[in-house]
Amino acid sequence: MKNKKIHIEQKELVVKSKTDNLTEIRTFVSNGARSAGVPPNVVDNIILAVDEACTNIIKHAYKYFPEGEIHIKLEFTSNKFTIIIIDHGTPFNPESIQDPDLQKYFIQHRVGGLGMYLMKSLMDEVKYISVPGKYNQVQLSKNI
């Protein structure tokens, strides 16, 4: 509707790129989603998707360098909950990751790519934007 104002609320967390910050990230996302009225089972899925995105950033964008920054922004309207995650590490090409064939993974001892598959399965939308030399952004959205 042309004149209808959409109310958007935002919250932000900035943490260093260390796996011991995953708990703080999950708590931040959980509190934000619950206070936005997202149903508990959907909150669980959102938390896992964000954990997977941040784990990928720590492992692949920052390659375990612990002083990188991860910015996590929550945005919610009456019908959509969006998480925007920004890092300044190595750019990532999501096209290079195929959905995992678990049988093949099993034989090859491969575990990478499971996180990406979970993110796509658990969220309604997963978007990547990379501006080389500046930032990478992954945007996860869930209709509520």
Partner: protein
Amino acid sequence: MAEFSTSTKEVGEISIIYLKGYLDAHTAPTLENTFSNLIEKGKYRTVVNFNELNYISSAGLGVFMAYIEKIRENNGDIKLSSMSEKVFNIFDLLGFPLLYEIYQTEEEAVNKFIESKSFEK
């Protein structure tokens, strides 16, 4: 800091690993150590009890992928039990029930090992 711990119990030749807390990329090495220690001791028959596990991410799921082949090569197995619906759903989403036996209770998983052992005789 994510809280996660494991404890183990021996039932005859079967090792039971109890998981507690949050299993993510930070805590997965704790579970890797538990499996490595059992394998070093030649213990390949393992039941993992998920009753007190609140959370698992793909890093945690990866631990089961990392050790299963070595364990099965030695006529062992990793059988899983007592998962909450939330944790089971993540295993299910990734197709793990095709690759791992998942039981409602620890006793069922233990009995499967005992039954297969009696068939070998």
